[in-house]
Each structure stands twice: as structure tokens, then as C-alpha cells.
Amino acid sequence: MRWWRRRNREQDLERELRSDLELEAEEFRERGLPPEEAERAARRAFGNVVLTKEEVRGMWRWSHWQILMRDLRYATRTLRKSPGYAATAILTLALGIGASTAVFTVVDSVILKPLTYRDSGSLVVAWQRPRFLGFEPTGANVRHVDAWRKRATGFSGITIMRNMSMGLTADGNSSEHPRLVGVVPSFANLFEVLQVRALLGRTFVEADGVKGRENVAVLSYPLWQSLFHGDAKAIGQKIRLDDSPFEVIGVLPANFHFPNANALRPSRSKQPVSGAPEPAVFFPVVFDLSQMEWNGGVGNWVAMGRLKPAVKPRQAEAQLNAIEEQIRQELPASQGDNRPGSTLTSVQPMREAVVGDSRTGLVFLMGAVAGLMLIACLNLANAQLGRALSRERESAVRAALGAAKWRLVWNSLAETSMLSLIGGAAGILFAYVGLDLFRRYSPVDLPRLAEVRINVTALLFSLIVAVLASVISGLLPALRMISTDPQAALQNSNHRTAGSRQSNWVRSWLIGLQVFGCTALLLVTGLFSKSLLHLLRQDKGFQTGQLMVAEVKLAPRTYSTPESRAAFEDAVIANLREIPGVQSAGLVSGMPLEGESWIESVQRLDRPNLETPLINFRWVSPGYFEATGQRLVAGRFLEERDGVVKGVVLSESEARSVWGSESPIGGRVRIEGRTFTVVGVVADSRNTSLKTPPARMAYVHYQDRPPYSNYFLVRSNASPGALAASMRQAIWKYAPNVTIARVKMLDDQVADSLSTERFQTMVLISFGAAALLLAMLGIYGVLSYSVVTRKQEIGVRMALGASRGSVYGLTLAEAGAPVFAGLLTGLGASLLAGRVVQKLLYGVQVMDLPVILAVSGLFLCAACVAAMLPARRAASLDPMDALRSD
């Protein structure tokens, strides 16, 4: 029988009995009794109607559901009677569940299933590890990959791809400025390896990878929407990427995502690029392998493969290593390093390669979540325990009256379940809000953050957490009830004290544990915050304020000659200098704070055998140093004539390593077979990354090799918006068809380059705040119960002459011992934890006294505030009142 049919059944029974009574009465009437008399006689004959009903009801079975509902109703009633406790517990749960669900969702989407391809577990990335890069894994040489493709048997397919960005224009609209899109050129078998089919049209296949046929493009779903408004006629349309025409042959499904340049970097040491565009256009690329070298040429392309079933990455790696060895033996001696083992490979599951650096941070965040959830559960258990204590007498009376113990346990479990349900629901709400804030306000550099949505898994996860929390926090007090001796409990209340020594001990432990977790979390948060501050405040070696950068990528065909590129650069710099209010303008070939690029070796002409480490090359214009505010150490900055006389400016550490204490000015160096004269030395600067020591740099005039990627720098105190507009204007004035990839203030670039650190710190701070709040709630909850239950005792003390101050002391002391113990052990533990995360910290030691002091101070203040309220309530008790009350 279902519960909702119960009411029907009641009516049914009523009707059945009534009809029987009527029949009975009729019979009596037929025998000649007057109607009233007959009715009375019928009732007499029938017996006790109510009793009959009761007996019949006893025959109906109580469903478990009905029992559950009854218990839940009871729980709701008791909870409504103590709203303070209920609110504390629900808030605790909501905070814990909300925070953990939000982070779990991020972690789940980013780490646990970043790839949505079929059987993505067998997709791997194969790196080459050449000796000349210290066997560091890097993007493989195309010729080598071609050899792998032909010889390796462990793969069902190997392809090669790279992430680039290009200027896109719809064909036939020449007045339109190009827009920057992410593009992926690849071998024509890319989609065969990924096993992805087109939503519309087709993807490219091997037949497209032929010279003359390769100008076909597959669009991502979002680009198709924005460019063709989802029109199926897009197939067959022409688009232009930089200066090449492409025919659209297909559109990818909406759920297709391809890792962008940050997620899949050919060079692991490369810094993430801020605002790397999502890959939107895919096209096949045809290589003329005979024109390519076997050596070098690494670090641009990424080789990707699909393993045959049952082939392990390790076996595939051994196979590729063997092929590398064959290649080395087949090559003529002139092809560079042919010592045995000069290049190795490494095969990594693609999932791992894509998640990359964010893994440590995310796993760490999961740890923080677990800690937070633990604190929340402890809090709840503590509150429950306090509550069970205050209800000890009630349960003792019930037990004494014969209530089954399991019913008492079930009651308290129902209460916690009720709380968990409400708390869980509130927590999910919190999670939604939290995730929304996450997405909106964190300039995070996590792969696929845009796709992060609360999903069913996360929902389930949070429910599991809620149920666990319920069980953990319900079990302790419930089991306590079982072990309660009713007689002792009843006597206990006669003695007018509550809580045995043992129970106080348990609660102290719980508070201690909570404080322990909270301090550990706070301390790690403190370390991360300090590390971030350090990164932001350290001497960068250049000035970022009021400096704007505009990135222009020149199309390779239109600007194929160095002269055309130089002409563009000359003209744009001149235009930029004419913008009113511009103090200085310059050009550099690499984006500041986006890692190292163009690494070469430098040799002193007079000492050809001196081996020096590789250094970074930047092609810059005169005015670059003035614009960035770099400090001159010796000699002079670059001038216009250095393009002709081939002058080079070195960074201080590079100059020292090559010339030692001698003056390098006027010294001659050989770079890539060309000879340069050192004209100046500038101070070291962290213009490749804020997280690494300053890189060794060599600056050469851009006319030496006019770059395709240009970063124009302008220092001006005009408003950023106006400056950006006039910079675009200045660039397009010379060439309206170049792609301006981005225009941004350098201060924003600084912030973006630290987005991972900022994200981690932000999340940790919110965790820390939540944990602190939870710990305060916990201390407050326990102390206020203690005050309520010790009301009489306190009353007696005050009646006997205890001062208000000593009552304060009494209450505070109760929390004092566990708080201090937790604080100390928490600090100890966080020092250990700190060692694990040391890698993620910059310029901060784990033993950082100011941070430790600040955290301890903060925590003690919070604990005092939490303890003060109940203490005040205790001190303001009216002793007479307290003694009179039961």
C-alpha cells in the first residue's frame, strides 16, 4: 500500500463499518424496535467501533516510507524548536558542500575528462628528446615523424599538428580588417587519428594532403555560427587565412574541442600565452620533406598518435626509440650529432599532455577541498554531539520508558539526514553561485574553463559528500546515545551538570582537529598570497606602467621579403611616434613575459673555443629600451645605424659570462655565422617570465632580420582605450589588411602571466575564509551549548561570589586548550605540507615567520570573537534565574 492511499483506506474502512451498522440497525427495526432504540442496539451488538478500527489498522502494514516520513516530521519539529543549531549546521554543510562541489566541477572538467574524442585513452603525444636540448621533451621534427608514421607498428595512426593564429577574412570583402583566429595545420589524417566526424560536410582525408589540393578548411562549430550564422551553405564558401584562400569543406560538431596552444605546447619550457585563441580552423598541410632537415626543426610541431589496442605507451616509446636509432645509422655523417642515442623519444598519454602543469595545482586544490569538507563534518559532528548532550535526559527518559535503542538512533539519524538534505540543497545552490563567480571573475589560465558546467557527476559527488557528512556526523552522537545508561543520565541531570568528562574530551578533540585543519589551510593560503605578492612586487628590470603593446603578425606570402617587412615596421614605428602624447615607441620580436624564443649560441670572435650557454635573441628597434625603461649599464642603447653596422646589446649576465670582468664594449661576437659588435650592456630583466631568473638576452636591430611577429610598444599617458584605438589606426594606416592579434596594457600582461598563481591564491583564500568561518561556527556552537548545559553550575558559582571576569575566564578556558593545541599542530603540519608545494612558491620559504605570526594572530582573533559571544551570555546570566530554571 502506498502512503497516499492511506487516507482512502481510512475512508473506506469508515464506510464499510457504517454500512454494517446500518444493516444491523435495519434488522433490529424489522424486529419492531423504534429507530433510535434499534441504532443503539446495533451499536451494542457491534461492540467498540474505535477498537475495531484500531485492530484493522494494525492489520495494515506500515511502510518504511511512512516510518521515515514520521521520523522526518519529528526531526523537523525538533529542529524548528532550535533554529540556531539548525542554521549553524545547515550553513556549515552548505559552505562545505558548495565549495567542494564548485572545485570538484572545475577539477572534473579540467583533469578527469579533458578529451571528448572516441576512445581518447589510446591517444598519445610523442615528443622528441634531442641531446642538444639536454634530452628535454620537445615537439618532434617533421621528417622524424614521417619516418615514425611509415615504420612504427604500434600505432593505428600518427599525425602532426601545431597551434597557430592567423587573420581570417571572409572572401570577397577586402575592406574588412582581418580577425584573429586559432588555426591548426596538420597532416591530412588528423581527424582519422582523432576519430571525429563532421557535423556538416566532411573532414579532410589523406587525399586532401596533396600539393594543390590542400587549401580546404574545416571550421569549428562556434566559428561557423559567428561567420556563417549556422548556414549550411557555408560548405563550399571561400575564406582567407592571412593571404591564402581556403574552401570550407566541413563543420565540426558542437562538442568538439581541440586543445589550444597553452594546453598542448611543443616546448614544455614555453610560457603559456595569454589569450591564446581557441582552435577554430583546421586545414591540411603538405610538407616537402626533401627540403627539410633531419636535425633541428624541433619545438614547432606536435606529433600525435593513436595506439593500437593493447599497446602501452611505453612499448610505443621503445619502438620510436628504435626507429630513431635506425634514422641515425642511415643518415650521412654531416647531418649533425650522430653519436649513439643522440635523440630519444617519449610517448605520453594525450590526456596527461593536455592537462600538463595544471595538474599539481588542481590536485592540491582537491586536497584543500577535502580538508574543508573534513572541517565541515567535524563541525557538524561537534554540534550534533553538543545537541545530543543537551538532549541526553530526554533520550534517557525515552529509553527508560521502553523506547528501543535503535529507534533513538534512527531518530537522531533522521535529524542529521534532514539537515544534510537541506544543507546539500543549499550547498548545490552555493556551488552554482560559486562556479558562476569563478567563471566571471577569475582570469584563469586553465584549459577548458569556458566549458566548465556543473554536471551530474558533480551533483552526485556533492550528494555523496552530503550523505557521508550526515552519516559521519550522525553516527557519533547516535552511538553515544546507545551507550547512555538511562539511570546514570537521569541521575546526572539531578546533579545539575551535563556532559561527562569523556564527552567533553571528545568535543575538545574535535575542536582541536578543526583548528588543526583550519590553521594548516590558512598557513598555506598565507604562503601562496605572499608568493604572489612577491612575484608582483619584485624588480622586473623594466617598467610596465603606461606601456601598451600591440601584436601584429605579418602574412608570410605578402611579406615574404625582409625588405617588405622592414618597410612595414619602419612605417608603423614612424606612425606610432606621431600619435599625440606618445613619449616613446619601439618594436620587439617577442611578447614580454611569454617565455623564451629564438635561442642561439654566441661566440667571441677572439676566443672561438669558449663555450657559453644559449641565449635569447630579440630583434628590437631603437626606442625599445627607452619605452620599456630598461637601465643601461655600459655603452649605449641601439641606434638607427646599428642596423647597418650590426651592433648588439647584451644583458648584464650574458656580458659577464662571456667577458668576465673585462669590458665587452667594442667586442666582436659571431651569431649564426654573422658578426656583431657589442655596443652596449643593459641591466638584466625578467622579460621572459616573472617566475624564473632573468634570461640571458641579446638585442639586435630589427633590420638584421625583420620579424614576422611584431610587438609594437608605446609609452603614453593617454587613456588605454584611446591609446589602443590610435595604435590600431597607426598600424592600419600603412597596411589595412594586417592582423592585429591583440592590443593590451603591459600591466595586464603582467597580471595574465600570473593568472595560474592568482587563481590558486584566490581559491585558497576563499577556502581559507570558509574554513575560518567554519572553525568560528564550531567554537561558537560548542561553547554556547556548554554554556546552556552548565547554566546551573555557573549560577551556583555566581551565587557563591564568582565575578563576571572569572565566568568569562571559565568559558574561554574551555576552548583555549584545544584551540592552542590545534594551532600548534596545524602549523607543524602545514610546514610539512608546505614542503610539497614549495615548487609552486616563488621567493617564499615555507618557514616564513611573518606569515606564521599573521595566520596565528588572525586565527586567535577569530577564535576570541567566536568564544566571546557565549562567554558574554554566561557572564550576563542572572544567578537566581539560572538556579531556578530546570
Binding site: R15, E16, S19, D20, F46, E55
Partner: protein, 106 residues
């Protein structure tokens, strides 16, 4: 068992069942309502009876809750009957032991 046996004649409502048993046993067994209705509901729960509100045979305007025997109920009746027979048989053997064969003729 008696209830089931009564219903073997066809569907009946509570009052009829009580009266029938009372009548057939010459008022010896008076079924009390306090035990009849719980018994009916128990039998229904066990699936031996079904119950339905139907108009009365004589007076179509009145509805009564008629109980009907289910196949399972019939089977159960047979089981109960044989059990009861064995029981009464056993009791009878104790109370009035059958005389040995040879003695009957003397």
C-alpha cells in the same frame, strides 16, 4: 477458514458473512465485529480475498463492500480444510477411541 468457506457460495459483504456464520451454526458461533473486520483485512492483505464496492443485489441504490474469494484463497481453503479434518480426526480419536475390530461383533 469459516470466512473462506462462507465466501465459497459467492461474494458477500461483512455483515452477510457474520450473519451467515451465525445462522448456519445456529447462533452457536457469534462472530464479533471486533475480530471479523481485522480478519477480513488480514485475509485481503494475504491475497486470499479481494474487496470491491458494488451495488447490493436487492437494492441497487446501496453499495456494499463485497469480498470475493481468489484462486489463492480457494487453495488456502483446501489446505485449511484438510488440516482441520486431520485435527478433528485426531481429537476424535483421543476422545472416542475406535474399538478394536474383533470386539465389535461381540
Amino acid at each position: 477458514m469459516l470466512v473462506l468457506r462462507t465466501l465459497l457460495f459467492g461474494p458477500a459483504h461483512g455483515h452477510q458473512i457474520a450473519k451467515h456464520i451465525q445462522r448456519t451454526t445456529d447462533d452457536l458461533l457469534q462472530i464479533e465485529h471486533g475480530s471479523l473486520y481485522p480478519a477480513l483485512h488480514r485475509l485481503e492483505r494475504k491475497g486470499w480475498l479481494t474487496a470491491k464496492w458494488e451495488p447490493a443485489v436487492k437494492d441497487q441504490k446501496r453499495e456494499f463492500k463485497y469480498y470475493r474469494l481468489t484462486p489463492a484463497g480457494k487453495k488456502q481453503l483446501a489446505v485449511e480444510e484438510s488440516k482441520w479434518k486431520r485435527m478433528t480426526g485426531a481429537i476424535a480419536q483421543v476422545m472416542w477411541p475406535a474399538p478394536p475390530d474383533g470386539q465389535e461383533e461381540t
